[in-house]
Symmetry: C2
């Protein structure tokens, strides 16, 4: 395992790609654009899943599972949604292979096993789910429906990158049905807030909550809420979206309910999701040139103990202390690994755990034993301290909390420094080129201006932020009146 | 919700289908052979997942994720495996839809977006995983690899039934790599034992551990271990399998490792899985004509409280007590629901929770309040008792444990009564026709005899049981020498 990563300064994109592979998070597979999520990367994803799942359940949602395939006729029912995803659909056309008549060791698609109707591998599940909800909803008594599903989806992207954009990815998708517009909208906002809470307080990733412009909206939505994060290279990353779908899918699938007052109305809907893309956000928010940096909440191993020894006798004495430390840490819910593998040198181990972002490293040598101390190193600051054994567990607990907060504050500081108010297009271009980050600028509200700015600068409107008090001004490009600043950025 | 199920005696198969739908476990979808797993059914599956996942991790396994698709050329590499699954493969041939030139509201497959190589939707993942392991394994130091994945798989079955046989199903699949034959075989056996433990001690389903005959073996395996359960209609159900793959996949994908002594050898492998089929086993082992019966370990709601009242005042008084009970039960980790919905009558609620298999029901009426008691009803025995409030939590804890054990013992009793030793083919046929269950009979070890018996009786060899002391005898069909009795049954 060659440790040396390309530095971020040298080549940010290369740094990312190398880090993902060298830290054993994921790798490309034999299937174009599809990744293999390796055990270490998957363990981090499991921690995200587990926390999100708890949060969904605590807000009244239940999990269910809907089919992987969407018959083409259902897929095309909601026109905008279909149009938005048609260009990147994996399509199943046959259900059998047979022996190649020309080479018995090969298989070919059996032309006699063609499906009457093609099946789309779900790029998102609104169509199949709303076709199901149709049978579940008759009356207001059947509402709301608050369902989430953990699943894989496929979008045939042409340019893929591990975690950030892959043909197949893992995600959760919530699909809710409501009796009123207000309730569906409240649900959409509730979940966007939940995503922001999760991102900031669990993943230590600061995000801006906002609304998408029409051209960046989810295909089939009336309004898309989002959380936007900022990566260390000054590019934004959409970390989660929550869509208010209005009655679009209810109309496409003819889902009506008898109201309490005896009427018959179309159902209101929301859908929302976060995906393994969050792994990319996590990596690019916290990590450094030595490798991954993990917030303690997400670290599969929070503390690693590395013995520094010569000969079995020293190892034995150190092991005794190490096992005691491990026991105490496990007892307070801290995950810990004692790496006593003899075939690797301490220096190799230090590098490896740095690369893998283990938040705290304990090193114990013979002299430490004599003095009843250990050396404790923080992954985020690389700071080392000698800590008395008697105070170790408490010290580690506090330090893990501190690291979690420090990582958030560091990222928040960076993000705050990288929101720049700009009032003319020359500044817009130069800030984008020299500094990066979010540009807060007035926009005239038209898709044309948005498109022109995108063409000229590659920056898009990331969101119309929710927390901002609207203030009137003039569009940074067209000079036309604008009612609010929006956030532009180059984005992943 | 019409409660009345078809009885098992009347039509077992219909009873099963009705129960699955009426208890809100699952339903058929718009996609041929694919099911929708509804929240209540999925909550049960989540409990299985969570327990199994813990057991896998406790035995040193890690989770990872591999692609949904298998390129055809990889799929065909292991010949037997390919041959076994080729006939039921969903095949992706295109990656784009376009607007139908003849009808702008429709989509058609874009013929210009044909894949160079077709992709098989995984029916099982040995091929894609061993193609990946090839890059992970160079030396004995890289072994063992102990990986599990939770995933969906697709097998294009012609005749499908909810949970028991569906085109798409959910499962876990373990794929391990080892330096020696002994180690791979030990892993295969370890997991089969783990499955038996899980099935019996968590799901209360007694199983027989055994080995499959060659014709029932997994395509590509050297040996298939299995756990076999017995349903209430006397048919067997294969509940889990663990395969010793020998070096078959290592050879197909050229996976070699440098041994400690400097040689170069092919890697040894195991693979193993259980699926949502377990839901079918669960339902058919314990349930009755009133609906689902759930072991407390798997019940999303373990205790339901139903108030019996007239008017708001009574409801309020009962609610006070109900909330106190709920609080106490939750405090000791028992899941409980207080159903105070006013729009449904107690009788309706009783039926509904019976249908859904909630293990314990508490009913509280005004007279119970006066006497400081509640009525407690067991779902499995339908027995009702008046229990003093002061002793309630303890009583419920004990009763839940008792139900868990009673369900296992009841099922075990049934299973034991339905293993019949048979020594001639006339008895074989009559026992199979009149009594059902497992038939323990001598078999000459040939695929021909096995096939003939299957043709004549529809019974197959479920397994060569592990726990039986081999005793010589004569084949029940051919009269040829046999070294051990095997278990025959009709099976799901």
């Amino acid at each position: 395992m060659g440790k040396k990563l390309t530095s971020r300064k040298e080549d940010y994109s290369k740094w990312y790609n190398e880090l993902v592979v060298k830290a054993d998070l994921a790798e490309n597979s034999a299937v174009r654009g599809c990744m293999v999520i390796k055990p270490y990367g998957y363990a981090i994803w499991e921690k995200m899943q587990s926390e999100l799942d708890k949060m969904f359940k605590a807000t009244g949602h239940q999990n269910a599972y809907f089919p992987l395939f969407v018959p083409k006729s259902l897929f095309e029912a909601e026109e905008k949604n279909a149009e938005g995803f048609a260009k990147e659909c994996a399509v199943v056309t046959h259900y059998r292979l047979k022996t190649d008549p020309e080479d018995a060791s090969k298989l070919v698609v059996d032309p006699e096993a063609q499906l009457e109707e093609e099946l789309v591998v779900r790029p998102t599940s609104e169509a199949i789910i709303w076709n199901t909800y149709k049978n579940w909803i008759q009356s207001y008594r059947d509402l709301p429906i608050l369902i989430n599903q953990w699943a894989n989806v496929v979008r045939w992207e042409m340019r893929t990158r591990l975690f950030l954009r892959t043909a197949e990815f893992l995600w959760q998708e919530g699909h809710t049905a409501h009796a009123t517009k207000e309730e569906a909208l409240a649900e959409t906002q509730l979940i966007n807030g939940l995503y922001a809470d999760f991102s900031e307080n669990f993943m230590a990733i600061p995000v801006i909550q906002g609304i998408k412009s029409e051209s960046e909206r989810f295909a089939g939505a009336e309004e898309t809420y989002c959380i936007e994060a900022l990566m260390q290279d000054g590019k934004a990353l959409q970390a989660g979206t929550s869509h208010f779908l209005g009655q679009n899918f209810a109309k496409a699938f003819d889902v009506k309910f008898a109201t309490q007052s005896g009427g018959l109305e179309h159902v209101w809907a929301s859908s929302w999701g976060v995906s393994t893309r969050l792994m990319g956000a996590l990596i690019m928010t916290h990590s450094d040139d030595n490798g991954l940096v993990l917030p303690p909440n997400l670290a599969p191993i929070q503390v690693v103990i590395v013995p520094i020894y010569k000969g079995l006798e020293q190892l034995e004495a150190i092991s005794k202390v190490a096992f005691q430390i491990k026991k105490e840490l496990l007892a307070v819910g801290i995950s810990v690994k004692f790496d006593d593998r003899d075939k690797f040198k301490p220096g190799y181990k230090f590098n490896d755990y740095e690369l893998k972002g283990v938040p705290l490293r304990i090193a114990i040598g013979p002299r430490d034993l004599e003095n009843n101390v250990v050396e404790l190193a923080r992954r985020d600051t690389l700071e080392k301290k000698s800590i008395p054994l008697t105070a170790l567990t408490d010290h580690i607990k506090t330090t893990l909390d501190t690291i979690q907060k420090d990582l958030f504050n560091k990222a928040l500081g960076y993000r705050e420094e990288h929101i720049t108010e700009v009032d003319n297009f020359e500044d817009f271009k130069s800030v984008l080129a020299d500094k990066g980050g979010f540009i807060s600028a007035h926009w005239d509200g038209t898709a044309e201006t948005e498109e022109t700015i995108k063409k000229k600068t590659k920056a898009t409107i990331r969101c119309i932020p929710l927390n901002e008090v609207p203030s009137k001004g003039k569009c940074v490009y067209s000079g036309k009146p604008s009612s609010q600043r929006v956030l532009f950025a180059k984005a992943y």
